[in-house]
Amino acid sequence: MVKEQEFLEKKASYCLGLAKKLGATGSSVVVKNLVSETVNFRNKKLDESNRSDDLGISITTYIGKKKSSISSSNLLNDNLNVLIDKCVETTKNTPEDEFNSLPDRDLLAKKVKDLDLYDDTHIENDQKISYLKKLEDAASHDKKIVNTESSFTQNKSNFILANTEGFCDGYKTSSFTASSVTVAKDEKSMERDYEYSSKCFLKDLDDADELGKLAADQTIRKLGPQKIGSEKIAIIFDKRIAAGMLRTFASAISSSAISRGTSFLKDTVNQKIFSDKINVFDKPDMLKGLGSRNFDSEGVKTDTLKLVDQGILKHYLIDTYNGKKLNLKSNGRCGGTSNLYFENGNINFNDLLNSNSKSLYITETIGHGSNIVTGDYSVGATGFLVENGEFKYPINEITIAGNFKDMFQNITLADDLEFKYATNSPTMLIEGMVVAGK
């Protein structure tokens, strides 16, 4: 079972006390326990079981404006004594940085709301196995499916964050995740695709049949892909790819990229960076939200932010250190965004498909082709050719490229937002990108 609050708090306060005794003027500590149990299936048979119990601690000590940190998986006091001593010694020898500091006391989270992030249900391996059997039966229904690999994971975690400004809080979270990867084959081609579902509560998890069937359908329809010529064309991004655009946007407005000057969105607050109707929210207090949190990784309170209002950037994502550097207050985004999403557009999915006589619908991209310094974007892609609103045939071995500055100004969103990941987007259309193929 995952460790209780009392145990974690005791370890945390031991560390804070010891660091002070050894000469630290301030310190913060995180103690975290994650218990994870996974069962993997392949071709309708048990393939792997995996249980992990990870306990970890990380400590940051300050001496004035000097700072250093250590982390360890060994929580015996003997070991902590050695490590904290080393940490304080290293702190003494590390040069000062005027912006180093613990978060401002008045910004620390005070009242912690129950966001319904923990399901006490324990699912035994036999139950995981029966879910996966059902899933794989559904996934391998069609003869074209030649391989299925599925997995079911239960995660339970608990943590305490404490610092010498008086903050000490933490809470349990849980997640239940099922996924299926299927391979389909015909005479000429072999293709792979996947589907997955992840929820805080077991009872909210997608039905095994549906998940398996969806994975298989998505894979089979990719068979027999063609390569198309190079041209400028409208591109429709499936929700799972569109969410990635939003993640790139989040890293480009992180206060560290802004303060270092390494973002194409530097100095763009109050400027129009998206097309007119685009609104972006980051909402930490969604009940059962996959990205929900009561405070950020420094203990700073987190309010809902409307990051983009009618296409205009309103906020960066600010932590204590970079906030001090930029002369801005932390808005509780140390560690990144929470539940980040584009608000729905006002056009439905079919109308979006029909908005150009010819477009590409992208279901998967590969490669690390997002450059947040220049905004340049170039990735390998797989998808479908869409003509007059209809899916014509699958496409692969192409790349799509553009620059985010232009792409963001040319986004149209459908009205089909759902909260499947921590970061979510409706289906997205971007005009004017370049496809390279034959």
Binding site: S52, S68, S72, P95, E364, I366, V373, G380, T399, V434
Partner: protein, 470 residues
């Protein structure tokens, strides 16, 4: 050498008994113990941003029966914890009736020294070098707007205890030194990144002001990119430079030749053994035995000594890379390719140093033969879909080739190709084989492991370049 039982209520003898009892009717399995120490020292934005130290200790207990793998890990080495893991494995493998394979090859060779690189250089010395890097780059070019440099050092001690008490151990040093520089000129920003590393002390790479050459290379790449034009879009000839561009080999064919994907028949290569998969003259090996290289290992994470495995010989597919599990199920032997990121993860067949051997042409001949194409010198990273065989990699330094001559630099673009067919499009292999500088990390199933690559210059007849200029 770590003594994993020194501060534990669990004795070596008791551990051996639990291991033998748990694995008696299994086909394979072991207890894997690991103790690692690592440090990061980071300079960024004119300051030492981070100095951190990590110490990690734990075990992973694995039992295999037929195709089924049961795994349990914990970071508490105690009697209670190992017993709990044993129970967990037994409950997964309820009715096993295999016979344990005790055979494991032996070797006395070692490919790196038993050192702890972290302790070999003081914190102050490391901080001094990072500050020197910052000052050097900022004074060398007025357009430098940002400098990031870091030291990453690690010492990992492992011990493998097999059923019957057989014990194998290894101590692995690893370091990396990276420099990233951003230039800004006329409102345009570009970055250049370079690094060095391997399984030696920091000083093996940085003595005699060698750090300056790392800085110079990062600055040179950034400077080239400041002048870059939009990259072309479409199919064309591509000349790849020697060394690090071999991540093409890693992505295009390396992953597809890993044993697990071929046993499961999900790799585009699974039915191509003994067949032509590359042009004549193309030979590719995966070698874990090169002294001090980032991808080298004395023994793999199952205890098998590593080797030089021929994957493709003169264009013909010869071998897959195997761990013990996939080797047994495919009736072959382990190639010493069983690796894991750490004790939290199961073993998978992985690459070590993947290398294309030299041919006899020159880079100059290749460039002269191209009317329209690109010359790619440096890459960021790559990715592959092993099932469809399609792979990509991102150029970070590339030039257009016009009428047999190198032209203007072009912006970073993704190149995409088809793994099983790309090597048949190789029409020239250079005589200038080079290792990469020792910076690669390969990701698979959520596990990152250090790897190396090497190749000579090569000419590829046809690849799709993902630029924006039609």
């Amino acid at each position: 050498m770590s003594n994993f039982f020194e501060k534990s209520d669990l004795s070596r003898n008791e551990a051996e008994n639990i291991i033998s009892d748990t694995l008696q009717k299994c086909d394979d399995g072991e207890l894997y113990l690991e103790n690692s120490k690592s440090e990061t020292i980071l300079l960024d934005d004119n300051k030492i941003k981070n100095s951190s130290y990590n110490s990690d200790l734990g075990f992973g207990f694995r039992a295999i029966s037929g195709e089924v793998v049961a795994y349990s890990h914990s970071n508490e080495i105690s009697k209670e914890s190992l017993k709990q893991s044993s129970q967990n494995l037994k409950s997964t493998l309820k009715s096993v009736k295999g016979s344990y394979n005790h055979e494991i090859p032996k070797s006395n060779k070692k490919y790196y020294d038993n050192i702890n690189p972290i302790e070999q250089k003081s914190l102050n010395e490391k901080i001094d070098i990072l500050n020197d890097v910052n000052n050097y780059l900022r004074s060398k070019d007025g357009n430098v707007k940002q400098v990031t440099a870091n030291f990453l050092g690690e010492q990992k001690s492992i011990e493998i205890i097999r059923s019957g008490g057989e014990t194998l151990s290894d101590v692995r040093p690893l370091i990396r030194f990276n420099v990233s520089v951003m230039l800004e000129k006329d409102g345009r920003k570009e970055t250049g990144v370079y690094g060095v590393g391997g399984r030696q002390s920091y000083d093996s790479y940085l003595k005699d002001d060698n750090w300056k050459s790392v800085c110079d290379e990062a600055l040179r790449i950034a400077t080239v990119n400041l002048e870059s034009k939009p990259a072309p879009a479409g199919e064309m000839k591509v000349v790849l430079g020697p060394g690090w561009p071999a991540i093409l080999i890693h992505e295009a064919v390396g992953h597809g030749l890993e044993g697990d994907f071929n046993r499961k028949k999900t790799s585009a290569f699974h039915n191509l053994m003994g067949q032509r998969v590359a042009s004549e003259g193309v030979t590719i090996v995966d070698d874990g035995t090169i002294d001090n290289r980032r991808g080298s290992l004395t023994i793999d994470d199952e205890g098998t000594p590593t080797e030089k495995t021929v994957l493709i010989e003169n264009g013909i597919l010869k071998n897959f890379m195997q761990d013990r599990l996939n080797a047994r199920l495919m009736n072959t032997r382990s190639t010493g390719s069983g690796r894991r990121e750490n004790y939290r993860h199961i073993v998978l067949p992985r690459m070590r140093n993947t290398m294309m051997q030299s041919g006899n042409q020159t880079q100059d001949e290749m460039i002269r033969s191209v009317d329209k194409g690109i010359f790619a010198v440096s890459f960021g990273g790559g990715q592959v879909d092993i099932t469809s065989g399609k792979f990509v990699f991102n150029c970070t330094e590339a030039y257009e080739i016009v009428n047999g001559k190198i032209g203007s630099p072009i912006k970073g673009a993704t190149l995409i190709g088809d793994g099983p067919s790309i090597l048949k499009e190789v029409s020239m292999v250079g005589n200038d084989m080079m290792m990469d500088p020792g910076i690669g990390t390969c990701g698979k199933a959520g596990q990152g492991v250090p790897v190396g690559v090497a190749q000579p210059s090569i000419l590829i007849n046809k690849m799709t370049v993902g630029g924006t200029k039609l």
